[in-house]
Amino acid sequence: MYYGLLGILAVAYLVPVTWVVSTSLRTEANLLRPDQWIPNPITLEHYTSGLYEALPNLGRYTYNTLRISILSTVGMLLSCSLAGYALARWRFPLRNLWFFGLLATMMVPGHVTLIPTYVLFRKLGWLNTPNPLIIPAFFGSPFATFFFRQFFLSFPRELEDAATLDGAGALRTFVGIVVPVSKPAFVALGVLHFTGSWNGFFLPIIYLTRKDQWVLTQAIRSMLGRYDSPWGEIMAGVVLMTLPIIVLYMLVQRYFVQGITFTGIRG
């Protein structure tokens, strides 16, 4: 009974997912058939020739997306883990001011700061380069810094004390001792940020208007026609774009749940 209910819910919930996969595997003639839940015959043409014809530069878009996602994740982890650690470990003048300042700015929507930032990047000649989507990550993110602080607060101090007695500098202690045992926090935040960046659409359509700079979300969206669209290819694109993220989550699921629970996001 319990499993029956859950099963029905899961099926209803996953109808769209099934429909995407099924559409992407249908032949052109069967594309609009409402009864083809299991495609017959199954074809991979949308994934191979179809997608390649619709988006000849797919490789380029994938490279652009990967570059932005990886570099901005690295930048965010670097700047926010350092700041979160300082806020959690040391007393220093104005610490509380900075902490509450960061907390308060978590509420500020990116859309208010967007326009001046756009003007700044335009002056720097960064339009149609990946910089606007990468460089800011190297200068922190209030949410991630807060998250790291919470994590390091719940973290025993004894390990570092031992290292300090050895005379290791703060940075060496951090890199050598703190980072290796903080995997859950790094993984949870890194995956969250990577996914957000990989899936992003608003900033790319503002900063990356030239076709050779496009990311995957823009490329897949561009297949939408005004009246008619190549739905087989679009769905194949959706599957290809989503699979890496699903695999990523499956690989890190354990750390991810730990990371979320540790930091008390639960309130």
Binding site: W19, H111, L114, V119, P136, F201, Y227, M235, R266
Partner: protein, 324 residues
């Protein structure tokens, strides 16, 4: 004991500190430096500059913004479009947040019953959440289509012919909210489950001994102890809903043959309007200036609503005494 000179508190702190403390301060600031630069360059600075832009007109072609005083603000409060846009956004928030908060709570309670196999369900529900809104939007615009979409077909089983909801002025926004809820459920479930796991089992045992029914246990044990989680999810889902953009631009633009924000402007949100006014329309009111005005009003609205929620929470949210 040393005498404190009255001048310059910061300097005094520095002078009176031990060398060890000084070293620690420097280290702390070095660790903080990237985030602090970011706070000023990418958040606080732009926040102020953006406020300045609201008093100017600038199309980015002229060398500098031109001061226009209160023109943007006066225009904002007289703009009929703004009325519609705010209404649309609030209508979306109403549907999306209420369905999200209730459905994910119900599912989390169901999944919390620690039976085997629930991990699989939890993972399944998480898939849409980690999928791009662009992908989700494309999928659902395909789901709603009247030729082969599963939704119109489902209703056809009962002999009901429904239109493409995304093309119907009175239903388009509700359809968008439905999609947003579908996508976010997995996240809500995960957070609720973390909250449910934090509730001590003894409380349930005690209430069972007292003869409480399942519903009473939920109402008088689970719900109060879960209220911090509910507050967290309420606040964050409102903030996210205020900023709806990606989903709407995909769901109601292109595939359906209407401009984004359609039909009849019924799904134009605050952020979509900001985007159009800043980056799209050639006939825009005052370019960046009006866009900045819309952005500032969005921030103010979010601030007011969030504060109101925390105020309301003071009387309703229940914190366990011993939880940190």
């Amino acid at each position: 004991m040393r005498l404190r000179s009255p001048s310059g508190l910061g300097l005094n702190l520095w002078r009176d500190a031990s060398p060890r403390a000084r070293r620690q301060w420097l280290t702390a600031y070095a660790f903080m430096s990237l985030q602090l630069i970011g706070l000023f360059v990418f958040i606080l600075g732009p926040l102020l500059v953006s406020l300045y832009y609201t008093f100017t007109k600038w199309d980015l072609i002229a060398p500098a913004p031109k001061w226009t005083g209160l023109r943007n603000w006066l225009h904002f409060f007289g703009d009929a479009r703004i009325g519609q846009v705010l209404g649309n956004t609030l209508w979306f928030i109403l549907w999306a947040t209420s369905s999200f908060l209730l459905l994910s709570l119900a599912l989390a309670v169901l999944l919390h019953q620690r039976r085997r196999g629930t991990t699989l369900f939890r993972a399944l529900f998480f898939i849409p959440y980690i999928t791009s809104q662009v992908a989700v939007g494309l999928v659902w615009s395909w789901m709603f289509n009247t030729r082969s979409g599963p939704i119109p077909n489902f209703f056809r089983l009962f002999g009901i012919e429904i239109p493409n909801l995304l093309l119907d002025e009175s239903y388009a926004m509700i359809a968008v909210a439905l999609v947003a809820t579908w996508q976010a459920l997995g996240y809500g479930i995960t957070i609720y489950l973390a909250g449910l796991q934090g509730i001590p089992g003894e409380l349930y045992d005690a209430s069972s001994v007292d003869g409480a029914s399942g519903w009473q246990r939920f109402r008088f044990v689970t719900l109060p102890l879960l209220s911090p989680t509910v507050l967290f999810l309420t606040v964050t889902s409102f903030i996210a809903a205020f900023q709806l953009f990606d989903l709407v631009i995909i769901l109601t633009g292109g595939a359906t043959g209407v401009a984004p924000g359609g039909p009849g402007g019924s799904t134009r949100t605050i952020v979509l309007y900001l985007y159009e006014q800043t980056f799209l329309f050639s006939e825009r009111i005052s370019g960046l200036g009006y866009g900045a005005t819309i952005g500032w009003m969005l921030a103010v609205l979010i601030f007011i609503v969030t504060m109101a929620q925390f105020r309301f929470a003071r009387s309703t949210v229940f914190f366990l005494e011993d939880s940190d």
